[in-house]
Subunit: 143 residues, 2 copies
DNA sequence: GTGGCTGCAAATCATTTGCATATAC
DNA sequence: GTATATGCAAATGATTTGCAGCCAC
């Protein structure tokens, strides 16, 4: 059940603790880019002693080890993503969903603008998702 | 002095007020992507009655009219930019500077991932800027 | 003249900090 | 056994809200 997360932590020489395993599992099973509150309140059900501070601390250490990444696309809070390969994000201004975008970025791992060394790239796209467009069209046609 | 900003506001049918003119002028003269506090405390010197709320309100209406844009690259606060053409941003993890990057993005004004309509694109690059690299090199050589 | 704007104070929300206890290794 | 992690409560910092008076049009 948790072996893969145990291995992941050990490979990075991070101490294996229950909150860390649960957070990894949650992110691995929910690719919805949850914020801290969503992670916290979901895990709190099974582990009533869990504290928000621990969620913050755990995410921070996972981030430092590049196991998870935080994204700022929402503007008001950090959202978390278990690190797959490089990908970008789309925020739907109608329904609030944050989706993964697999467009490649030609500017990763190099320098930009005559010499600034790039270690990290994040691409944010904002607009109206396919689903919400469909709904709008339906409403117009039927209304 | 302020004519261009007056015109800009009138063209967008936004009421011309002194805080709005000052904020536009400030952003036009400081392409450093300031946060609200920097804008506020700088303008407060000349206009002691200015309030933070007004800075927030003004930036919001300018943003709605696409005259300015807010960027979330810093992660902890919004930073503002007077809207030039589409460009991206680079954050130096060493000195904190936020620089404009003029790399073109091939994905503007279209749809992504099979149909999500894109209205806005922001590209964030993080790493070490040219200047900080130079400093590092110097220290190693001399130390 | 009036609706929208300004500025103040208080509220809210995400995140951080300090510290005592508990636990991984 | 010890360094590190957890969890609580309080603090901080950015932003929002409610509201009274003011000003652009």
């Amino acid at each position: 059940m948790y072996e893969k997360y145990v291995k992941l932590l050990k490979d990075h020489a991070i101490k294996v603790t229950s909150p860390r395993l649960e957070i990894l599992k949650f992110l691995d099973e929910h690719h919805t880019h949850p914020n801290v509150e969503e992670i916290y309140s979901s895990l709190k059900k099974k582990h009533p002693s869990l504290s928000r501070t621990t969620v913050y601390n755990s995410l921070e250490i996972l981030k430092k080890n590049r196991i998870v990444q935080s994204i700022t696309i929402s503007g008001s809070e950090l959202r978390y993503d278990i690190q797959g390969g490089l990908h970008h994000h789309f925020l739907c201004n109608r329904c609030g969903a944050i989706l993964d975008i697999s467009i490649a970025c030609p500017n990763m791992d190099r320098t930009v603008e005559g010499g600034h060394r790039v270690d990290e790239v994040q691409g944010y796209f904002k607009g109206i998702c396919k689903n919400c467009q469909k709904k709008e069209k339906g409403w117009r046609t039927n209304g």
